[in-house]
């Protein structure tokens, strides 16, 4: 073949361009700065762990297109080479035999395989027919890219706010707690606080099992000779109690009283931090109808309200001895100690979750235990990206990215500008929050059930919603309702789904997560998904494209281009809705770069994608320095570390609710739980998790080391309660509430040890759905349900069989 000079130059340029494009797409392993390949042919690359909000970094070993090993990443600041049992076995999550590999449509009650084109068309047609009756349910396990795509599709595309996420069920109250105290979400401190604190208080969270690597970060300090006092404030004894210096057992829901008891003592003893309070705090109380911003309160009024909460009064309500309440009051009153409080679902899945969050922030502010490394009220996030995706990118029914809300005209205008859509595209009316969304799905259309089509991605509402009969299973009898589930395995949700879509998971796709300490972390695709499973992000874009082709006006941006237009290095549009071209560009990078401008408004600044490729995560706000490098912020609102703080102020709450750089110390009274034990139902029923299983167990129950260690759910009970009823250890008993009953084995003196009159059931077992019988009373401000308290009774099982298979 003859080639002249011009053609040769063209060919070289083309080769160079496509090589660059290939490198930028970063799809193939070994093209990244962090991948190393050994002589044994195993390529190791970094990724954040798929599981909890700690956000450990792992190294994933890939050989011949499969994950073959996992190591803790020694270069990671979070975990420094250590993992927990779930993290060590995260690679096995990809290889359960019943992985979903093809889209399936339910025909005559049975799921039948169909093609992707057909599946996309089914969804698009339903959306086209009734766009206002379509809802998207996302997840704190959504990558940031997936969340951005879903959010843009709904809010900037369909002009609908019917998008919400499962963090509504886990972190919502933490969010409202932060917003009402500081005016902006997420912790001010970071994990460095754990290395510096003298006292660690666990407020109803079993940190040894739920954030194991963080917990061992604290207790392993004792091996180095440091003194750390651990106080376990809990409703039952757990593994965390074993490491605690003090165990304070309290009656469920009375955490409200305990927090007020500490405030009372700080005021009475005069040990509150007068200077800090004067300079940096205002006082606040809730309005008649609970609201996020409440109403002002004077210090005098605050003191008066706290007068009631003497140690004796707190003891009467909570059962914690008065001298222990005084112990807490004394600790907080000391200026020489650094105190870190942590909490998780005990505070958040609480029918007064916003209040208890506010109160805990309040006692830290009142006592001045804030702003220095080690002094921190730190909410621990459960999911790997509830922060990074849902809270920060705003994938909730009332939010917009970067801490904005749909109700605010300026916020809408900002978002319309960043998303490049015509003014007025975004609706000002919030959509339905999770519980309401599913309630509407499960209500007949004639009776006001105006959610007809619901698409759930990367989550399992059929197991994780409370009160399942009402909020999920009732959908079964409604013929015109349509449930779409994108997931990786058959789950309790796919049982009722009309359309099941197989998804790629974790290192089968590019992705980014944001963990509990504001650390945004990135990973590259390392292996291919099985069969015809495809990225959730692609699925959203493909449906958007189909709607574009069907002529839906919302799928065009302001310039008439498709809402999801991605260009390659040469500037040419890549048809990413066509699966074989999806990885021709790095969609994840493009979505992040589109999202970045949103983040500066509330100082949640993110760095460019390339920085996250190099780092084991960076904590926002990430600020560019004079020399071009990017610097993360460890302690917000503190002058010594946060570059946005005005010089000379030491501490500045620059998003203050009262617009005067001050944080708010809230008062909230103790109230009883929605459903307390009574004569008919004399037990408290609490639900929660165990170390070995991730949430609904769809991944971990398929990992033999984990399911072998914890094969099934059980109910924990005090030995005296059991012996009074003649229950033997391991015997199947029936737990009954006003919503239903569940038969399962009883575990006495097992891992968790509840007090008399109290039961605990973990929720990971899809064969023993405890959420069939929970109440889920929601917080009036955050709408997060309470999974920790309802009334139950127990009895011997009528039949010997342990569970009905679904």
């Amino acid at each position: 073949m003859k080639m002249d000079r011009r053609e040769f130059v063209k060919l070289s340029a083309l080769t160079a361009a496509s090589t660059v494009a290939g490198l930028r797409a970063g799809a193939a392993p070994g093209t990244t700065a962090n991948a190393t390949t050994g002589a044994d042919g195993v390529t190791w690359n970094k990724a954040p762990c798929r599981f909890c909000g700690t956000g450990c970094h792992v190294r994933v070993g890939v050989k011949a297109g499969r994950v073959v090993g996992i190591e803790g990443d020694q270069l990671a600041d979070v975990n420094k080479g250590l993992l927990c049992v779930k993290g060590y076995h995260v690679g096995l999550a990809l290889y359960g035999k019943d992985r979903l590999t093809t889209p399936q449509l339910r025909k005559n009650g049975k799921l039948e395989p169909i093609s992707w084109d057909e599946a996309i068309e089914v969804i698009a047609k339903r959306v086209m027919a009734a766009p206002d009756k379509f809802a998207l349910y996302g997840s704190g396990q959504w990558t940031i890219g997936e969340g951005c795509a879903g959010n843009k599709f709904m809010k900037a595309g369909l002009g609908s706010n019917q998008i919400d996420g499962n963090p509504r069920l886990c972190m919502s109250s933490a969010v409202t707690g932060y917003l009402s105290t500081y005016g902006v979400d997420e912790p001010a401190g970071c994990y460095d606080d754990f290395d510096k604190c003298d006292v660690l208080i666990l407020w109803g969270n079993n940190m040894a099992e739920m954030h194991p690597v963080l917990f061992s970060r604290v207790i392993d300090r004792r091996m180095r000779g440091e003194k750390v006092m651990v106080i376990d404030l809990a409703t039952r004894r757990t593994r965390s109690t074993d490491y605690a210096d003090h165990y304070l057992e309290f009656r469920p829901h009375s955490d409200l009283a305990i927090a007020n008891g500490i405030a009372h003592l700080l005021l009475k003893n005069g040990t509150y931090h007068k200077e800090f309070v004067e300079k940096h705090c205002n006082f606040r109380r809730d309005t008649e109808k609970p609201s996020l911003l409440g109403q002002p309160m004077t210090f005098a009024e605050y003191q008066k309200e706290m007068e009631l909460y003497t140690p004796e009064h707190v003891e009467k309500i909570s059962g914690v001895p008065a001298e222990k309440v005084r112990l807490l009051g004394d600790l907080f009153g000391r200026k020489d100690l650094r105190i870190t409080s942590t909490w998780c679902m005990g505070f958040n899945q609480h029918s007064r979750g916003t209040d208890i969050n506010r109160l805990c922030h309040g006692i830290h502010l009142l006592s001045g235990h804030f702003g220095r490394p080690g002094d921190a009220p730190t909410s621990l996030t459960g999911q790997p990206s509830a922060c990074g995706t849902v809270r920060e990118a705003g994938t909730l029914c009332h939010m917009l990215p970067g801490g904005r809300v749909v109700m605010n005209a300026e916020h809408r205008a900002d978002s319309e500008q960043f998303w490049n859509v015509p003014a007025g595209r975004i609706s000002p009316k919030p959509g339905y929050h999770t519980v309401l969304m599913f309630e509407k799905l499960c209500t007949a259309t004639e009776q006001g059930g105006d959610v007809q089509t619901l698409w759930s991605q990367v989550t399992n509402p059929g197991q994780s919603l409370p009160n399942l009969h009402k909020l999920f299973k009732a959908k079964k009898n409604l013929a015109d309702k349509f449930l779409i589930v994108s997931d990786v395995y058959p789950t309790a949700s796919t049982e009722l789904a009309d359309l099941v879509l197989p998804s790629a998971m974790w290192v089968e796709k590019n992705g980014m997560y944001g963990n509990s300490e504001r650390r945004t972390q990135q990973w590259f695709k390392m292996v291919n998904p099985p069969g015809d499973a495809r990225d959730d992000c692609w699925q959203t874009i493909a449906v958007a494209r189909k709607l574009f082709e069907l002529g839906h006006p919302g799928m065009k941006d302001k310039d008439g281009n498709f809402l999801f237009t991605f260009k390659d290095a040469a500037g040419k549009e890549v048809p990413v809705w066509d699966w074989k071209h999806y990885y021709d560009v790095n969609v994840d990078e493009a979505l992040l770069e589109e999202y970045r401008p949103f983040t500066t408004y509330k100082h949640k600044n993110l760095a460019p994608y390339s920085e996250y490729v190099k780092a084991r995560g960076l904590r926002w706000p990430v600020v560019q320095q004079g020399d071009g490098s990017w610097r993360e912020t460890r302690f917000r609102f503190s002058e010594f570390d946060d570059s946005f703080v005005k010089k000379g102020t030491e501490i500045q709450f620059y998003h203050s609710v009262t617009k005067d750089d001050k944080a708010l110390i809230w008062f909230a009274p103790y109230v009883k739980a929605a459903e307390e034990p009574d004569a008919e139902y004399p037990f408290w029923l609490c639900t929660g998790r165990v170390l070995e299983h991730w949430h609904t167990g769809t991944m971990t129950m398929r990992i033999p080391q984990l399911s072998g260690a914890m094969p099934s759910a059980y109910v924990e009970m005090h030995p005296d309660d059991a012996s009074e009823r003649g229950f033997a250890n391991g015997e199947t008993i029936t737990v009954k509430t006003r919503r239903g009953e569940l038969s399962l084995p009883v575990w006495i003196n097992g891992r968790g040890r509840p007090p008399r009159g109290s039961l605990f059931v973990p929720f990971f077992d899809q064969r023993l759905l405890v959420n069939d019988i929970t109440l889920g009373d929601p917080d009036p401000i955050s709408f997060e349900p309470d999974y920790k308290k309802c009334a139950a009774t127990v009895s011997k099982s009528r039949a010997a069989r342990s569970a009905t298979k679904l």
Partner: protein
């Protein structure tokens, strides 16, 4: 026979009666005295004592209340009272440090298989092959801290530096032991088709008698003797246990140990302002 003198008869009766009465009266008063067993009940005794009361009763010096079966410490009572349940006193087998162990390929392969059976992949924390106490790490350290050999059972010495929370990474293979085998709740939901990284068989030797390099990552394997010493599996035993400074001759691999810091660092930009910021 002579008839009994009525006067003697009456006197004998009086003397007998006096002795009888004296004995009864003094016996009565002796019986009123407290006996050595201190049986001086304060009030009514019920046969069953509720727990809360039981503790209160035990606190006072009256009736020694019978302990429940569950609470009896039969290991330290009665004929077992002189048993010494102290693991430190167990005599460990002596090892001839000067003998050479010639491990065959077959023995080596067996040892590697045994290790692999407890691990999802080489480098994973082994599952615990025996039931565990759910809530105490001190219990683990009792055997796995110093390492123990009891007949043919080996409790291997921890191969890594001490971490406080053992059960964070090591979970029991047999679960909590709550359900009877055969229970349908023990059946796995689905099989897993993961195949894990296998242990490399041999390190590389520069020439036939050279010390082999370490063919595995030393992450979590900082105590060589844990596996290669007298308390490790026979198939992995070192032929020269008398030499204590292992890494003097046997070098770990920088790639496997993730110590390619220089390569990773080269990709990073110049030092950031973070390095110099105040705490």
């Amino acid at each position: 026979m002579k008839p009994i003198n009525p006067i003697t008869y009456r006197r004998a009766v009086w003397i007998f009666g006096a002795i009888l009465v004296t004995a009864s009266v003094s016996g009565y008063f002796m019986g009123l005295q407290q006996t050595g067993s201190q049986l001086n009940s304060p009030g009514t005794i019920s046969l069953t004592v509720p727990n809360a009361e039981r503790r209160a009763v035990m606190a006072t010096e009256t009736i020694p209340v019978a302990t429940s079966y569950r609470e009896q410490d039969r290991l330290n009572d009665g004929p077992n009272a002189n048993w010494k349940n102290d693991l430190n006193k167990l005599v460990q087998p002596t090892v001839d440090l000067t003998s050479l162990t010639n491990v065959t390929e077959a023995e080596r392969a067996l040892a590697l298989r045994e290790r692999a059976a407890r691990r999802a992949f080489d480098g994973a924390p082994p599952v615990v092959p025996h039931p565990i106490a759910q809530n105490s790490a001190a219990v683990c350290l009792a055997c796995h801290g110093p390492g123990l050999v009891i007949k043919d059972k080996v409790a291997s010495k921890m191969s890594h530096a001490a971490y406080t929370s053992c059960t964070q990474c090591h979970v029991p293979a047999g679960g909590p032991g709550l359900l009877a085998t055969g229970s349908e709740l023990l059946a796995p939901i689905a099989e897993n088709q993961f195949t894990g990284l296998a242990a490399n068989l041999k390190g590389s030797r520069a020439w036939p008698k050279a010390p082999p390099t370490v063919p595995h990552s030393t992450l979590m394997r900082s105590d060589c003797m844990s596996c290669h010493g007298p308390q490790g599996l026979f198939g992995l035993r070192t032929p020269h246990p008398d030499r204590q400074a292992c890494v003097q001759c046997h070098v770990p691999d920088a790639e496997l140990d993730q110590r390619n810091f220089f390569r990773a660092a080269a990709e990073m930009t110049k030092p950031t302002a973070q390095n110099t910021s105040a705490k």
